[in-house]
Symmetry: C3
Subunit: 345 residues, 3 copies
């Protein structure tokens, strides 16, 4: 299975890139992020001269100079100066990537620049959103991004993998959520009826709890949830409630999975309560939980990767809970195949 190239991949947090070149790797391509007079720029992280990384270079008044032999690049990748040489070869330039800063993340478009469309940036919730009190973090994975995507499109693993951290009960394993296709992704909705308990985070969950997340190309999870008075689920015929009507445990999480190199990934996440009922202390308790839980996933998924590496030909045996996994992976496959065919045409 490949990855979709015509998509916005999270490269880092907005404040990762300040006044110095910042190296990232996406889909195995080395990219240097920097700011040219305030404007975010993404170039291939490779001088066209002798392949020194531009991320070891120096920002000079809106330009980036390779600090090996001094070749200078404009923000669009064009060469502005070659020391000791007057003529600049007309076609020589560093590849430039479309890049936007949105919702506190830096997003890089890995496909055809002409097709980069800001409207396709998934509607994550930024750290500065006044409606939520968010914490953030990231994990480097020694595993392929697709394994993390599989993890995030099947929450039945919560009942086993996160029984200790999130104190998830058997409901996630026993019952299927409602899964529907959305634009460039899937939506996963789940009512948890009469779930009276105190979460490890200190939040009280009671009555009926609803959670809904979209999992979007290339690997972005956006989830909100809240608690409602007992009887709400049935009254709404198990349809989606209004977030505003939730009376407790309202929160939002944005998560993004970026394939970095060969069997490595980066997992970015934010989470926190709504600002009306939450507090920074609750956010910190939730982030401590997330730290535990996401590490439980990392241990399992990296071990899974090692097993796969030793059995490259083995075939998985999907279960009923793999419906969301399959929907999302088929979407990725069809988009990736279309890209390949379009490139070959």
């Amino acid at each position: 299975m490949g990855y979709v190239r015509n998509a916005w991949y999270v490269a880092g947090w907005h404040d990762d890139v300040a006044d110095r070149p910042y190296p990232v790797s996406i889909l195995g391509e080395r990219i240097v992020l920097w700011r040219s007079e305030g404007r975010l720029v993404a170039l291939e992280d490779r001088c066209i001269h002798r392949f020194a990384p531009l991320s070891l270079g120096r920002c000079e008044a809106g330009r980036l100079r390779c600090m090996y032999h001094g070749i200078m690049f404009d923000a669009d990748g064009a060469i502005a100066e070659i020391p000791g040489q007057d003529i600049i070869p007309p076609n020589a330039r560093a590849r430039s990537y479309p890049v936007v800063e949105k919702h506190s993340w830096i997003w890089v478009w890995m496909g055809e620049a002409a097709r980069a469309d800001e409207a396709l940036v998934p509607p994550a919730v930024g750290l500065d959103d006044p409606n939520f009190i968010l914490g953030r973090g990231h994990l480097d994975y020694a595993a392929e991004a697709r394994l993390i995507n599989d993890n995030l499109t099947d929450f039945s693993h919560l009942s086993f993998g996160h029984a200790n951290s999130f104190q998830t009960g058997m409901d996630f394993a026993d019952r299927q959520p409602k899964i529907t296709p959305v634009a460039r992704g899937i939506r996963v909705d789940r009512w948890n009826v009469n779930a009276e308990r105190r979460l490890a985070s200190g939040e009280n969950v009671f009555g009926d709890t609803f959670a809904s997340y979209d999992f979007l190309i290339p690997g972005v999870l956006l989830m909100w949830s809240g608690s409602y008075p007992a009887g709400t689920a049935e009254r709404l015929n198990f349809e989606t409630p209004d977030f505003d009507d939730a009376i407790a445990a309202k929160n939002f999480t944005s998560q993004a999975v970026t394939p970095t190199g060969d069997k490595t990934s980066c997992y970015f996440f934010s989470w926190g309560p709504d600002s009306a009922t939450g507090t920074p202390e609750l956010r910190d308790a939730m982030m401590a939980l997330a730290g535990m839980a996401f590490n439980e996933d990392k241990v399992m998924i990296e071990a899974q990767q090692r097993v796969i590496d030793g059995h490259p030909a083995a075939r998985i045996m999907p279960t009923a809970h793999d419906r969301g996994v399959g929907m999302f992976n088929r979407l990725v496959d069809s988009l990736a195949r279309a890209e390949t065919e379009s490139a070959a045409a």
Copy 2:
């Protein structure tokens, strides 16, 4: 050169496996050991669903549950439960390996289950044998098992590699032992006549010393030795003496070499004096010596492996001392070839 599959490989010490799944690797295959209501079980360490390792799972009343999405396995590898799904695919199961616990070691049969025969477990001496006071240890090797087998089937290296630790003289290098074939292995006998000296271990060796070891498929060394009154060797016409007649320096060592992964191995060993004349202190002194000596081997063999890796096509030049090495390797080759032909037929 390959390895024989229809053989019992040492996977660990009997007490390595208690109430939690225990991962091992043999011939590059990941295996999880656990106890199902007291009975030792060996399954492939790979959930059939999405290849999470079962060694990260949980033992539940005689069964093993994968802790990623909760698939539950019976002791024979059959699937007992798939969360969220009523139907269990009839042929879905984890591969099960024959396994026995004997002589303080856990032995796994890597070949056809139908041919697994407990009578083929090499007659090692267990730690609980009342006739000996044994210590134990193991070393992880960054080298192929066959190189350790080569080391153990030619003791001429003792004169050079272990001159400091075992204080071995030149006799091992100068004279050939008597080597005879035995069932699934070779026997190496050596009289050392008039070997009057105090060993570094504190043992006194005097008169005539005899040592005999069997080196058995897949790579198990079982050796006893003892000292006899001067003249015994000649009186017995250099045939094998009775162990009971030894008057000093009686001891036994069991050693097992297990290929684990690609160019990695595990070397298990026990050693100690007989309980009639030995003491725990002597055992400890012997084990300290063994620790030094076995590390001398490890340094040499791992370096040898690195040289071989850089010269994969180079051909060895056997010497007169390689007779035992050759006998054993030809036996391995013929058994491995027969297995391959039988599998192809």
Copy 3:
């Protein structure tokens, strides 16, 4: 691009090899250096028996014994003894390499022994040369030697990479040096006119400064430089001055790049002032600078190697400053190609 085999490669400092076998690696070949009754010897570091490294062996009266099974080698690689065996196979021997000790370095000839010619040893300045007060060092590189050669045949990088350490100005980037072919290499000469400043080393540079280096097969840089009264460059029509006429900042550096393994290298260097005007304190200040600067190169070149590894098919874009790089690389190519053709004929 390959490397020239018919050349002397620096294997180490003269005093690296004393009374114990010393392992080195050149062009991916493991070699053991030792002294046989005072005479330096280089053999392949691999026992012909079972490939144990001879560098783990023991020197015995002019011979080297493998300490695995005791095979003994003469200084020319012939087998002197096989324990337990009377007959020595007539053609069995370890490969021997021509080796000389000269200018404080140990040089190994990697090509045809018959063509080894001491006259081809580059005229480095040894640590014991009475005309200079030299310090020395070496760096292990996780990069191919050819990248370090490229670095040393284009000093325009000094203006960017070493602006902090050597306090190099823009002259190196702005102006080309004079480059001429010499036997088995190139010569790079540079006048720096009216360069009045105090170096970070504490040396005062004033008037006109001249530096000239030869870069010789296989990768040896030999450079002298000195300061002259203002006007000297013009008076000499920018030709080469006499070293003896320099009035300050006289120094010499010898540097050697040796390919060791796959994408690894060793970089040996000495540097220091002339003994007439220099002091040990000045040498130490210069070596501290060199330590900074050479590490700046190492950081850049190792990063460059990683980028190249990810883009093996990418083509460099040479600049005007690459003239020396190109001259030297074409020389290497033509010599290496001639060797290949001669071997095939």
